[in-house]
Subunit: 303 residues, 2 copies
């Protein structure tokens, strides 16, 4: 099953050096989840050959513009491009008023349904679940209410050892039960132990997205043992005071988070416009947490 | 005096084929006027090496998103980049509410003053005037209230023939009067006729911007004899019915407007996403009005 994230924007605050404000596209089993939507996200999707029409779920971490100013344009283009299937938005409550006001003044009645889910910025919660994935909020510490999102794959069914089942002439209608872990008694009375005829599916993986936040142990429990941690790393550590003042994190701190929560991999992004090149941010993070990568726009990272 | 326009976006409705939604930057005597501001305008400014900080006046034709969704991001970035001088916005009244709502939810208090001027969508009017230029609205015919803008250079002062004035020992303090067209009587009693000691300045030029509109003679008087007419040309003429339905213009019609109002040059833009290449639109317009050019992003056109 595919579980991977493509970076659409990696800049903090303002676009610069061909870096765009934050947006990421998560592909979980060929369903597409957009995480944040800075200005120009729809242009980035086109640039990287990704289809906006495949996105059914959008998650907005907070209402600083570099994380959502592209949303109204994306939704409008979906409308103009003929979308009819519903779109689900998980965001701070006010997003509904902001979008509605703009649709009103453009005299736009969407052809498709927008379904809103207002995120509680105080309590971590499971906010979404389907056959593939569970999404939980992460309560971050920013200047305005801000939540991250942890996407955890669902445990898949057991894999059948089909050759062995066929040798026993096990009827096809028994396969679903076996996939779910049941033992099987054949008509002749023989019992097939599930463990002998199936193997376990892969261990589910998780992706934690921490958009904008002060370094704060309060959210560590929500992201513990994740496979890939995306964490903002707006500044180098020599700018720690500025990071604190603006409720952001340094590259060194992002690495410390990854280490503390026992993440397998770290992806850093949300780079300040003061950094034309990013290698120093990467080196700083790697000095603490070697399995760090830079979030590079247009690049897809396996979770 | 410089009087030129740089195209930042030439696409209608949705961005496509590396074409962005509408925005133009007018340079009149090194003062900068932004006309419309589709999503990604701030990125386009950066891409073409133009400084957002130099823009003091923004004109928004109407509240369809492809003409203003980039405004909130541009204003936010100006704030983050330290702007303190006021910014003047000429737009439909509701823009104030739309911007205020978003600034409220991002807890942003701008460091600079936003000065709003609400455009009357019913009556053409002079809405702005400074030493260089006069701006008048053009009442267009679109699905929602929509105004174009006509920028007309102010007549410059007369040019002094300095060699002749020096030969007559005319004191410097008399030069301003001469520039304004006065004759001069010297202390000895000799009268210098203005026409002998000055020449007329260049004839003022005008730029008419017609963003989104149905072909409609009602606005022709507002743009008569302009030097450069920018006119939307969303479709080829074989799509005339679609153009009427969506209150847009075909390339042929844009050329007919230019011809009817006696424009010197025509610039066409706002191209539908159905046209990957634009040569057919250009050819169609030129068949009626040869002095037509395509609005190409990143290109600067002398008015």
């Amino acid at each position: 099953m595919k579980f991977e994230v493509t970076i659409l924007g990696s800049s903090s605050a303002t676009p610069v050096y061909n870096r765009n404000p934050t947006a990421q596209l998560l592909n979980c089993n060929e369903k597409f989840y957009l995480i944040d939507c800075g200005e120009g996200t729809q242009q980035q999707l086109i640039k990287f050959g990704l289809k906006a029409s495949k996105i059914d779920f959008i998650f907005i971490s907070h209402l600083h513009g570099d994380h959502y100013f592209g949303l109204i344009g994306l939704l409008s283009s979906m409308h103009l491009n003929g979308r009819i299937k519903p779109l689900y938005i998980f965001a701070p409550q006010a997003i509904q008023e902001i979008l509605a006001l703009q649709f009103k003044h453009s005299d736009t009645t969407l052809r498709y349904e927008l379904v809103y889910f207002a995120i509680d910025p105080e309590q971590p919660a499971v906010i979404f679940e389907n056959r593939d994935v569970v999404v939980e909020t992460i309560i971050l510490n920013h200047r305005i209410p801000c939540t991250g999102f942890k996407f955890t794959e669902k445990k898949r069914l057991r894999k059948l050892l089909v050759d062995k089942l066929e040798a026993k002439n096990v009827p096809l209608e028994c396969y679903p039960l076996l996939k779910r872990g049941a033992d099987l008694t054949l008509p002749g009375g023989e019992t097939l132990l599930n463990a002998d005829y199936t193997t376990d599916s892969a261990v589910p993986k998780s992706y934690a997205y921490c958009s904008d936040t002060l370094f704060d142990v309060a959210y560590f429990d929500s992201i513990r043992n994740c496979d890939t941690l995306y964490h903002e790393a707006t500044f180098l550590h020599d700018m720690l005071e500025r990071a604190k003042e603006t409720h952001h994190t340094t590259a060194l701190q992002a690495a410390e988070v990854a280490q503390a929560v026992n993440a397998k991999k770290l992806l850093i992004g949300h780079f300040s416009s003061r950094y034309k090149t990013l290698v120093e941010l990467l080196d700083e993070a790697k000095s603490v947490f070697p399995a760090t990568q830079l979030a590079i726009e247009g690049t897809t990272y396996e979770i």
